[in-house]
C-alpha cells in the first residue's frame, strides 16, 4: 500500500484534471440514478393517472423535460468523465516514465551495471502502464461508489427505512465484502501476471539479440520452448484471473438481482400496509437497480489491485536504490587545476568480498601521463571508476586540485574526464547524432576534425548516407573496431582535460592501432592521461608506468623515450 501511496503523490501536479474527472463521474452517476428513478415513477404515475381518470391534473410536461435533460447530462457527463480521467492518467504515466528514467541517472554508473536492460524496459513500459488502474479503476470508482451508495441509502430512507437498511446492507456487501473477497482470492494471480510478463519479455529479447549464436549452437529451439512455456504459464495465470473476474461479474449480477427481488417483496409488503404509494414502488425499485451499477466495477478492480501493487513495488524498488556513492549536500566549485591525488585509497565491492584496492596513494600533477599495467581482474578498471565516481573508496580520499572529489557536483566532475571504456555504446541513431552526444553543439568543422582524428573519414565516405547513416541496433552493422573509432571521435569532441583510457586500442588492427596511438599522442599533449592496459602496446604515450598487482601499485619503470 505504501508503494501505491508513493505513486499517488506523483499524481499531484495533475490534481485539477483528477478532481475534474471525479466531479464529472459524480454528475454522471447522479444523472444515471435520477434518470432511471424518475422514468420509473413517470410511467407508473402515468398509468395510475390514466386508470384513475385524473389525466387533466397530471402534468407530464415537466418530468418529460427533466428526463430529456438527465439523459443528455448522463451521455455528455460520461463522455467528459472518460476523456478527463484518461487524459489525466496518461499525462501522469508520461511523467512517471520520465521520472523513472531520471531516477536511474544517478544509478547508471555502478549500481545499474548488474541490472538487465530488458527488466528496466519492462519497468518503464508494462509496469508503469499497470499504474493506470490506480486512478482509473480504483480511486475514481471507489469515490463515486462511496458517495453514490450513501446518497441512495439516505434517499430511500425517506420512503421506507426498512428498505433503505436492507438495500444499504446489500450495497455494502457488494461494494466492500465482495471486493475484499476477490482481492484476497486474486492476489497471487495478479502478482504472478506481472512477474511472468516481465520474464516473458526478457526471454523474448534474449531470443532476438542472441539469435545467431542460438541458431549456430542449435539451442534456439530450446530457448524458444522456454519462451513458449513462459507464455503458456502467463496465459494460464491470466485464465485463472479471468475465471475469478467472471465469477465476480456473475456474483455482482446475482447480488444486484437479489437486491431487486428483496426490494420487490418489501415494497409489495409496504404497499399492502399502505406505507408506500403505487408510483413510489417504481421509484424505490428503479433506484435500487441503478445503485448497483455504481458498485459493479469494484470487485474486479480489487481483484487486480495486487497487479498494480506489484508493478508499483517493482518500479519503486529500482527507483529507491541508493547510488553507490554519497552525494554531497553542498558542492564546491571546480578547482582551477586538474591535479589528481589518491590518498590511502582502499576499496572493495561489498563487505563480504575481497579488497580490490589496498591503501593506494598516487600523485599526478596536471599534465602527468601514467600507464597502469596489470592482468585482468587486478583492479585497474576499478581504479579508473573511482575517479569517475562509479564508486567511492571505503578508506582514503581522491582529490582533484586539492578538493576531495566527493565534494564536487558529479556532473561537473565528469565533465573533466574524457573516458574511453572497454565497451563502446552506440545508440540507434545516425553517426552524427552518436557523435553529438559528446558535444551537442559541435560545429561541422569540429565534427570533421574528430572524424579525421579517429580515422573514420574513409569509412564514412564509403557510406551512401555519410554521417547520417543509422548505426546501432536498427542501423547498419558496425564492426567492433568501427564502434571503437566512433568512441574515439567522441573523446576528441569532448576535449576534456583528463583522459582515462581503458585498453584504448583493443579491437583495432595493427595499422589502425598505430594511427590511433599517433593521434592520441598529439591530442593528449597538454592533458593529464591515465591509461590502463594488460599489455605493453601504447605505453609510449606515458611517462611513468605502474604495475598493479593484487590491489597494490608498484612503479615499474620510467619511460626513457619521452
Amino acid at each position: 500500500m505504501n508503494d501505491l501511496a508513493f505513486f499517488l503523490r506523483l499524481f499531484k501536479p495533475h490534481s485539477l484534471w483528477l478532481v475534474g474527472g471525479v466531479m464529472l463521474a459524480l454528475i454522471t452517476a447522479f444523472a444515471t440514478i435520477t434518470l432511471l428513478t424518475l422514468s420509473g415513477w413517470f410511467i407508473s404515475a402515468s398509468a395510475i393517472a390514466g386508470l384513475g381518470g385524473d389525466v387533466l391534473l397530471f402534468n407530464f410536461m415537466l418530468p418529460a423535460a427533466q428526463i430529456r435533460a438527465l439523459a443528455i447530462t448522463r451521455t455528455l457527463g460520461r463522455y467528459g468523465e472518460r476523456l478527463a480521467t484518461h487524459e489525466a492518467t496518461f499525462r501522469v504515466l508520461t511523467e512517471i516514465r520520465v521520472w523513472f528514467f531520471a531516477q536511474l541517472i544517478p544509478l547508471a554508473l555502478g549500481r545499474l551495471s548488474e541490472a538487465r536492460s530488458g527488466d528496466l524496459l519492462s519497468h518503464m513500459t508494462a509496469d508503469i502502464d499497470a499504474l493506470d488502474a490506480l486512478y482509473l479503476r480504483l480511486l475514481a470508482p471507489a469515490i463515486v461508489a462511496a458517495l453514490g451508495v450513501t446518497a441512495v441509502t439516505v434517499f430511500l430512507y425517506a420512503y421506507d427505512p426498512f428498505i433503505s437498511f436492507t438495500t444499504g446492507c446489500l450495497l455494502l456487501i457488494a461494494s466492500v465484502a465482495v471486493p475484499w473477497l476477490f482481492n484476497q482470492l486474486g492476489r497471487d494471480g495478479a502478482e504472478n501476471v506481472v512477474t511472468l510478463a516481465a520474464s516473458l519479455r526478457l526471454r523474448q529479447l534474449e531470443l532476438l539479440q542472441g539469435m545467431t549464436d542460438l541458431l549456430a549452437n542449435q539451442a534456439y529451439a530450446r530457448f524458444a520452448q522456454r519462451f513458449i512455456k513462459n507464455s503458456e504459464r502467463l496465459i494460464e495465470t491470466e485464465a485463472d484471473n479471468n475465471r475469478l473476474t467472471a465469477l465476480s461479474s456473475a456474483l455482482t449480477l446475482l447480488l444486484s438481482q437479489l437486491a431487486l427481488l428483496v426490494a420487490v417483496i418489501l415494497v409489495g409488503l409496504a404497499y399492502q400496509h399502505d406505507e408506500l404509494s403505487g408510483a413510489n414502488i417504481a421509484i424505490v425499485i428503479f433506484c435500487v437497480l441503478a445503485a448497483f451499477e455504481l458498485v459493479q466495477p469494484l470487485p474486479q478492480a480489487m481483484q487486480m489491485l495486487a497487479k498494480t501493487q506489484t508493478a508499483a513495488q517493482r518500479v519503486r524498488h529500482l527507483a529507491t536504490l541508493t547510488p553507490t556513492i554519497q552525494m554531497a549536500s553542498q558542492t564546491s566549485a571546480l578547482p582551477n587545476r586538474y591535479d589528481l591525488r589518491l590518498d590511502g585509497v582502499s576499496f572493495r565491492y561489498s563487505e563480504q568480498s575481497n579488497w580490490v584496492l589496498k591503501n593506494l596513494s598516487l600523485t599526478m600533477p596536471q599534465g602527468t601521463k601514467i600507464g597502469i599495467i596489470g592482468a585482468s581482474g587486478s583492479g585497474k578498471t576499478t581504479l579508473l571508476q573511482l575517479l569517475t565516481r562509479h564508486y567511492d573508496p571505503e578508506h582514503g580520499v581522491v582529490l582533484l586540485g586539492n578538493t576531495p572529489i566527493n565534494q564536487l557536483n558529479h556532473d561537473k566532475l565528469l565533465s573533466c574526464f574524457g573516458v574511453l571504456s572497454q565497451r563502446s555504446q552506440l545508440f540507434a541513431a545516425s553517426i552524427k547524432e552518436n557523435l553529438l552526444i559528446a558535444k551537442p553543439h559541435a560545429t561541422v568543422n569540429e565534427l570533421k576534425l574528430a572524424i579525421n582524428f579517429a580515422g573514420l573519414t574513409e569509412f564514412i565516405a564509403r557510406l551512401p548516407e555519410g554521417m547520417n547513416t543509422w548505426v546501432g541496433e536498427s542501423g547498419v552493422k558496425v564492426s567492433g573496431g568501427e564502434a571503437r573509432r566512433i568512441a574515439l571521435a567522441r573523446l576528441h569532441l569532448k576535449n576534456a582535460p583528463i583522459l582515462l583510457l581503458d585498453e584504448p586500442t583493443e579491437g583495432l588492427d595493427e595499422q589502425t592501432e598505430r594511427e590511433v596511438l599517433g593521434a592520441l599522442a598529439g591530442f593528449a599533449k597538454n592533458k593529464t592521461l591515465i591509461m590502463v592496459t594488460h599489455r605493453t602496446v601504447g605505453l609510449e604515450l606515458v611517462d611513468v608506468v605502474y604495475g598493479m598487482e593484487q590491489g597494490f601499485l608498484v612503479k615499474t619503470f620510467i619511460n626513457s623515450l619521452n
Binding site: I43, A47, T75, A250, V264, L426
Partner: protein, 570 residues
C-alpha cells in the same frame, strides 16, 4: 503530398486492411467452437432477460394495479430467482469460454512468430530493433485476443438476439416492435461511420508503442554512456517526447472509442424515450390512434423493461468494434513479420535430394542477390574434409554472405550447395558445423552455462576441459566464482577477447566436423590475436576449418586460400 499519391496510399491502405481482415478470419476458424459457445451463452442470457422482464412486469402490475397479495405471486418470484441464477451462470460462461478463444490463438501465434524469427535469422531482422520486435510478440499478440473473445461472439449475438426480441414484442404490440425494428439499424450504421478511421488511428498507436519500446531499450542500454558525457539529463526531454507521443496516439484512439459509445448511448436513449413517450401517452389516454393497439400497464412495463435491453447487445458490439480495429492494427504488425519469410525467399530444399560427390562441400554456380544488388556471382567451389581454408577479400566482397550460405542462414538465389552429397539446408548444415560470428552473444547466466549452450547435458568434466583448452580458465580462475561467475547480457564485464574464448569453448564442445569463423580476430589486439590463433589451431586440428579474414597472420596459418573479389572467385 500529391493528390494522386494520397489516393494511392488510401487504396493500398484499404487493400492492406482487407488482407489483415482475411487473415484474422482464417485465424478465427481454429477457435470456432469457443466463439460459438461464447455467443451461445450471450444469447441464452438475452433470452433470460426477456423472461425476467415478463416476470417482473407481471409481478409489479399485480402489485400496483390489481392490489394483489404476495402469496399468489410466489411461483412468479421463484421463477425470477431461477432466472437470476441462470443469468449469472451465463455471464460466467460467456467470459470464460471467450477467454479460451483468445488464449489458444495467442499461444499459437507466439509459437509461429518465434519460429519465423528463426527461419528469417538475424540477417533479415537486423533492421529492426529487438525492443520493438518484442513489443509485437508480447503486446500486439495480446491485443488480438479481445477480437476473438468478445467481438466475434458479439457478432453472432447481434445477428440473433435483437430478432428474437422483436419476434416476442411484435405479437404483443406491433407499434413498439416497429419502433425497435427501425431504430436498431441506426446503431451499426453509425458504428461503421465512426469505426472507419479507427483502425488507422489504432495502427499509429501501435507504431508509437513499438517505437517507444525500441527507443527506451536503446537508451537504457546506453545510460552509463549518456551519464559519462553529461547528456543523461538532456535525454529526459527525448524520453518525454517519445512517451508523450505514445500518450497522444493512445488518446486519439480512446477519443474515437468514447465518442462512438457516447453517440450510441444517446441514440439508444432516444429510441427508448420514443417507446416510453408512446407508452406513457397511450396510458394517459392522450393519444388515440385508431390503428394503434391498446396497451395495459403490464405490457407497458414489459416493453419498457425490454427496450433498453434490446439496445445493449448492439451497443456492446459498437464498443467491441474497437477490438476489431485493434486486432487489424496488430494483425498488420504481425503479418509484416510473417510475410518476410516469403519476401526473403527462405525456401529450403528437402533432405531427400542427394548427389554423388567426393568433396565435403560443393558450390555449383551459386549466385546470391538482394533485390537488385548482386553480392555473389557464379561461385564454384569444392571443399574437402580436413582442409584449413582462409576466405579472403576486402570488406563488401561477399565473405560473410558466402559463410551465411554455407551455414544455411541464407539461401542461394541461383545454383546449388551440397554438403556430404546432400542438398544443404540449415538444420543439416548446423548439425555439422560450428559457427562463430564477429561478436558472440553471451546470455545472462554463468560462464559455465554459456559454454554449455550447444549441449546442456555436457558433463562438468567436459566443460572444464573445453574451458581450459579455449583459454577461458586463464581469466576465469582469477574471478572469485570461477566458471560459475555470472556474466550479464551481452557479456557485461568481459573483454572482446574473453568473449571470443567462451565462443570457442562452445564451438569445441559442439564437436562438429566443420568450423566456420567470421573474422574471429577482427576486434582483437595483436597479442590476444596470436594467442587465439594458437588456441584455434590446437582446438580444431582435426576439423575442416574455414576462416574469413583479411588479416595476414590468420591467412598465413591456413593451407588454402579462397579469394573473393566483388562477389566472384578470383
Amino acid at each position: 503530398m500529391h493528390p494522386d499519391d494520397n489516393q494511392r496510399y488510401f487504396d493500398q491502405h484499404q487493400a492492406r486492411e482487407k488482407i489483415c481482415a482475411r487473415w484474422l478470419k482464417k485465424q478465427s476458424k481454429t477457435v470456432r467452437k469457443s466463439i460459438l459457445l461464447t455467443a451461445l451463452a450471450g444469447i441464452a442470457n438475452g433470452i433470460a432477460v426477456i423472461i425476467q422482464a415478463g416476470l417482473l412486469a407481471n409481478i409489479l402490475s399485480a402489485l400496483i394495479i390489481d392490489n394483489a397479495t404476495l402469496k399468489p405471486l410466489i411461483p412468479l418470484l421463484a421463477g425470477l430467482v431461477v432466472v437470476f441464477i441462470f443469468r449469472s451462470f451465463c455471464v460466467y460462461a460467456q467470459q470464460v469460454t471467450g477467454f479460451q478463444a483468445g488464449a489458444s490463438i495467442r499461444t499459437a501465434l507466439r509459437q509461429q512468430l518465434t519460429d519465423t524469427f528463426a527461419v528469417l535469422g538475424s540477417a533479415a531482422l537486423k533492421n529492426q530493433q529487438s525492443g520493438a520486435l518484442a513489443a509485437v510478440t508480447l503486446e500486439q499478440v495480446d491485443a488480438l485476443a479481445p477480437y476473438f473473445s468478445r467481438y466475434l461472439p458479439q457478432h453472432y449475438i447481434v445477428g440473433l438476439l435483437p430478432f428474437i426480441m422483436i419476434a416476442v414484442v411484435m405479437p404483443i404490440n406491433w407499434l413498439v416492435g416497429c419502433i425497435l425494428l427501425f431504430t436498431a439499424p441506426l446503431i451499426p450504421l453509425f458504428m461503421i461511420l465512426v469505426g472507419m478511421g479507427a483502425s488507422s488511428t489504432q495502427r499509429s498507436q501501435f507504431l508509437a508503442l513499438t517505437r517507444m519500446s525500441g527507443y527506451f531499450l536503446d537508451r537504457l542500454q546506453g545510460l552509463a554512456t549518456l551519464k559519462l558525457f553529461g547528456q543523461a539529463e538532456q535525454e529526459l526531454k527525448n524520453i518525454h517526447k517519445v512517451a508523450d507521443g505514445f500518450r497522444e496516439k493512445t488518446m486519439a484512439v480512446l477519443r474515437i472509442a468514447f465518442l462512438s459509445s457516447a453517440v450510441l448511448e444517446f441514440f439508444s436513449a432516444v429510441a427508448v424515450a420514443l417507446v416510453a413517450v408512446y407508452v406513457g401517452l397511450i396510458l394517459l389516454g392522450q393519444i388515440h390512434f385508431t390503428f394503434a393497439p391498446p396497451i395495459s400497464f403490464k405490457i407497458a412495463l414489459f416493453v419498457l423493461l425490454l427496450a433498453p435491453e434490446f439496445f445493449i447487445p448492439l451497443r456492446q458490439l459498437a464498443i467491441y468494434y474497437h477490438d476489431k480495429a485493434a486486432a487489424l492494427g496488430a494483425a498488420d504488425a504481425i503479418l509484416t513479420i510473417l510475410e518476410q519469410v516469403e519476401k526473403t525467399n527462405v525456401g529450403w530444399v528437402s533432405d531427400s535430394v542427394t548427389q554423388q560427390s567426393k568433396s565435403l562441400i560443393e558450390f555449383n554456380n551459386v549466385s546470391k542477390s538482394y533485390d537488385q544488388r548482386q553480392v555473389l556471382t557464379d561461385i564454384n567451389l569444392n571443399i574437402h574434409q580436413g582442409e584449413k581454408i582462409a576466405l579472403i577479400g576486402a570488406s563488401g566482397a561477399g565473405k560473410t554472405t558466402l559463410l551465411n550460405l554455407l551455414s544455411g542462414f541464407e539461401t542461394a538465389t541461383e545454383g546449388s550447395i551440397w554438403l556430404n552429397g546432400q542438398a544443404l539446408n540449415r538444420n543439416h548444415a548446423l548439425q555439422n558445423m560450428a559457427y562463430i560470428g564477429q561478436s558472440s552473444y553471451l546470455f545472462y547466466g554463468s560462464i559455465y552455462d554459456n559454454i554449455a549452450l550447444a549441449n546442456p547435458h555436457t558433463t562438468a568434466q567436459q566443460i572444464q576441459t573445453a574451458a581450459k583448452l579455449a583459454g577461458v580458465t586463464e581469466f576465469s580462475e582469477q574471478l572469485a566464482d570461477g566458471l560459475q561467475t555470472l556474466i550479464g547480457e551481452r557479456g557485461y564485464g568481459l573483454s572482446g577477447g574473453q568473449q571470443q574464448r567462451i565462443a570457442l569453448a562452445r564451438a569445441f564442445l559442439k564437436n562438429a566436423d566443420i568450423i566456420i569463423l567470421d573474422e574471429p580476430t577482427a576486434n582483437l589486439d595483436k597479442e590476444t590475436k596470436t594467442c587465439l590463433l594458437v588456441v584455434i589451431k590446437q582446438l580444431f586440428n582435426d576439423k575442416t576449418l574455414i576462416i574469413a579474414s583479411h588479416d595476414a597472420e590468420v591467412i598465413e596459418g591456413m593451407d588454402r586460400q579462397i579469394v573473393l573479389q566483388h562477389g566472384r572467385l578470383a
